[in-house]
Symmetry: C2
Subunit: 147 residues, 2 copies
Amino acid sequence: MATKNPSTEEARIRQLSDDWVAAVRSKDLNAVMNLYAPGILVFDLPGPLQYEGKDAYRQNMKEWFESFKTIGYEIRSLTISAGPDVAFAHSLNHISGTRTNSEETDVWVRATVGYRKNDGKWRITHEHFSTPFEMTPPYKALLNLKP
Amino acid sequence: MATKNPSTEEARIRQLSDDWVAAVRSKDLNAVMNLYAPGILVFDLPGPLQYEGKDAYRQNMKEWFESFKTIGYEIRSLTISAGPDVAFAHSLNHISGTRTNSEETDVWVRATVGYRKNDGKWRITHEHFSTPFEMTPPYKALLNLKP
């Protein structure tokens, strides 16, 4: 039975976001993938312009996990707009941790996530991660901005 | 009276997107701003990380318009998820045209837009524009990618 109360749906999206962060922190590829709809379309930090479908994105996520010894991940200023079966959220996400090559990562990125509810279950159908970039050559990504 | 038919709402979001493109092509600042909710939050191509509120973003949009002699703007692969009062869309947007300094602009960017309906009227509450960037120093924005 569909729940029509938007605030209930918002709470469910917040829980899904918490589950996503927990899965990323523990580098649990299957747990992350369980939160995605099969047709997910992702605009990620590295190229290409987009990843279409769960299989394409799974490989990307796998390699990303493998590049970290430990991943720190924090979602700040999460703002959710939720209807009965369509929702989106935006936030500022802090990625930190130690890479397998021992480099330290410490960057804030902008995140927008889209959700749809099918058969009573919310899934992520769209992710968009980015940083802004300098408007003059060589058009460097702005990796040192903080909220 | 709220319309519950999602496909009707999707058609309205598509119209709003068309109106936005027409306003941008004609550099009509007021027409663009009329499509935004007062509390709009924007993740734009240049820094800072975010623009909060219509007034902050208006100044940015004004300067962007003034930097162009003529703006070409095309939205491709627009995919809309619309509920009765919350919707989001993603697309690949082609920005082209001649700058006031006579330089030519020709870049594809990723776009995600969030919408809410209040008092029967859809407004844009969130925009996220970006390009991916190279994962090695100097972390250049990838401005030559094409869909």
